[in-house]
């Protein structure tokens, strides 16, 4: 195992820190993210209230603590991104494995479906679906998960074709292993590398999609906070209360940038041809 470069470790540290903060939000949050106070509306960052304490990042138009809402919103973002990546990973990889193993007609059908899906803008499809089935945490995950699988299928299909031609796959066929066993025990581990790279970049995209849909009011529903909905609500106060849009924006930007850079670093680690560069 090659040692990870310092920059990668740094990215990992930032990401883990954000994830830890997101998941421990209910315990580390200084205020209740839902508690409204009309007297404390649109307080700038650093405001102090004698009874409620410090509002480090200020308050929103309903007097709720922005830091608490950002932390809580991060939790929603992570949860949606992880679950929808999981759904699309399972769907996409299964289809890719089947297409790459069976080839022929199965591959033709599955890969044409992939082409079709990739030619429809995912966000439009998601907006349409959510509009039809109604916005909720679950529908958000289903919509994102079921629109974002084709990239996994492409990668899984190509890698399966390649791995299926390896002598060790032939050897396990000779040893009497069935298709399911070969795919799960021998093909899947050997194509996991490139799939993880795709999953990482998809994770970043899912966070953006969730924010986008919530911004449009189709994602996490108020009063529950989400980065997208905080920014959307802050939009109308952007001249008086810049912090409502800037801080969630910085959070979103940092998180997605970290994830994408990490994805690049991972691809370099997994690809021996890029070693030493």
């Amino acid at each position: 195992m090659r040692r990870l470069p310092l920059s990668t470790l740094l990215l990992l540290a930032v990401l883990l820190l954000m994830a830890a903060a997101a998941f421990t939000a209910p315990w580390i949050s200084p205020h209740d993210p839902l508690r409204q106070s009309l007297l404390l509306r649109l307080k700038p960052p650093g405001s102090v209230d004698p009874r409620q304490g410090v509002f480090l990042l200020g308050t929103d138009d309903l007097g709720r603590d922005l830091l608490a809402r950002i932390l809580c919103g991060a939790r929603a973002s992570f949860a949606v991104a992880m679950l929808s990546v999981a759904v699309s990973l399972v769907v996409g990889v299964s289809l890719g494995l089947v297409a790459g193993w069976v080839r022929g007609w199965a591959a033709a059908i599955i890969m044409r479906l992939v082409d079709t899906m990739l030619s429809i803008p995912a966000i439009l499809l998601a907006v349409l679906t959510v509009a039809v089935i109604g916005p909720s945490f679950l529908s958000l995950i289903l919509v994102l998960g079921l629109t974002r699988w084709p990239r996994y299928t492409r990668v899984a299909y190509a890698s399966t074709l390649q791995v299926a031609a390896m002598p060790y796959i032939q050897a396990s066929e000779m040893a009497g292993a069935g298709a399911a066993r070969i795919l799960l025990r021998h093909v899947l581990p050997n194509i996991a590398g490139p799939l993880m790279v795709v999953a990482t970049s998809e994770f970043g995209l899912m966070i953006l999609f969730e924010a986008g849909l919530s911004f449009l009011g189709l994602g996490i529903q108020p009063p529950a906070p989400s980065w997208g909905s905080i920014m959307s609500a802050g939009r109308q106060y952007v001249e008086r209360a810049w912090w409502l849009t800037v801080f969630p924006g910085i959070g979103l930007f940092t998180l997605v940038l970290c994830i994408n850079l990490l994805g690049d670093a991972m691809r370099d680690q997994l690809d021996p041809r890029s070693a030493g560069r």
């Binding site: 032939q170 050897a171 040893a175 021998h186 050997n190």
Partner: protein, 316 residues
């Protein structure tokens, strides 16, 4: 006694080209049959046909495959799968490529047993010991990249034999190994065939390997059997010009240093150009008009030796 594997009149085609044409041979339990020939003469594809794992482009157009008397062509795939690795298994030329780089030796050998847990571990340790792997308890935790070629081939053999199959198909098992390791692996195969009563079909292009290990030989040329017989007979008195030329091409100790190696002029024709008559005619020193008109049948040459040559008696 029923042969462990009985191949009768096997014909395989890629598109219109008959790459294997009426090949028959049989191996009995404990016997080693060498299938010999140049590259492209249909040896490996014959073995794949016996496992019923032919590449998609290849179709079986005729013949029978009998494993311990059961017609393999008639079995549904689900039953065929249970025979693979249990009653019949196969090893390859590149042992390191034939092991999954991401599973340990122990897992891979255990896969063919169908056992789990401690029972599987016991069986694997015993089998690895039997194929001459030192310190099996340490080896089962290792990954293929930690093995040498010889070790990897021993692991392959262990995987192939752990379920005590009746037949082992060994496709050039020692070609990728250096000569000392080659001899050890051949000894091992020989010993295991005798001890366990496994019938071995050894596919090779190396007459030296044949002399080392085989009981009987089937020489293939361009998808047909040219000559078969007991190894001693074939080496002492080949009855097919191709066999004779193959034997003459073996370099010997005592040859003058730097003497030119004997070669057979020409090359195996492409399957699309296989002739309906004798396929060796174009390279044969004994060729006559008859060879170019009629395909020679396999004829009894005495002492269990068969030759497919019109001029078998003239071969020296």
């Amino acid at each position: 006694m029923i042969p462990a594997l009985d191949v009768r009149d096997l014909s395989l085609a890629i598109g219109g080209a008959r790459v294997v044409d009426g090949v028959s041979f049989a191996v009995r339990a404990g016997e080693v049959l060498a299938l010999v020939g140049e590259s492209g003469c249909g040896k490996s594809i014959t073995a794949f046909a016996a496992m019923r794992l032919l590449p998609r482009a290849v179709t079986m157009t005729g013949g029978q495959l009998l494993l311990e008397g059961n017609d393999l062509a008639a079995l549904p795939e689900s039953r065929m799968r249970r025979l693979r690795g249990r009653r019949m298994s196969m090893i390859f030329q590149e042992p390191l490529a034939a092991l999954d780089p991401l599973s340990t030796v122990g897992t891979q050998v255990a896969e063919a047993t169908g056992l789990r847990g401690a029972a599987a571990r016991e069986a694997v340790l015993a089998m690895l010991g039997e194929v001459g792997i030192s310190d099996p308890a340490r080896r089962i935790r290792q990954y293929p990249f930690e093995l040498s070629g010889g070790m990897a081939q021993r692991v392959m053999i262990a995987t192939a034999l752990i379920a005590r199959p009746a037949v082992l198909l060994a496709d050039e098992p020692t070609t990728a190994l250096d000569v000392t390791i080659q001899a050890q692996i051949l000894d091992l195969l020989r010993r295991l065939a005798a001890e366990r009563g496994t019938a071995i079909v050894l596919i090779t292009h190396d007459m030296g390997v044949v002399a080392d290990i085989a009981d009987r030989v089937a020489v293939m040329y361009a998808g047909r059997i040219a000559e078969t017989g007991p190894v001693a007979r074939i080496f002492a008195a080949p009855r097919h010009p191709y066999t004779a030329l193959l034997l003459a091409a073996l370099p010997r100790l005592g040859d003058a240093p730097k003497a030119a190696l004997a070669v057979i002029p020409g090359q195996v024709p492409l399957p699309s150009a296989f002739s309906a008559a004798c396929r060796f005619a174009d390279r044969c020193p004994l060729v006559t008009d008859r060879c170019r008109q009629e395909p020679p049948p396999l004829r009894e040459m005495g002492a269990d030796q068969l030759s497919a040559c019109w001029h078998a008696e003239r071969v020296r």
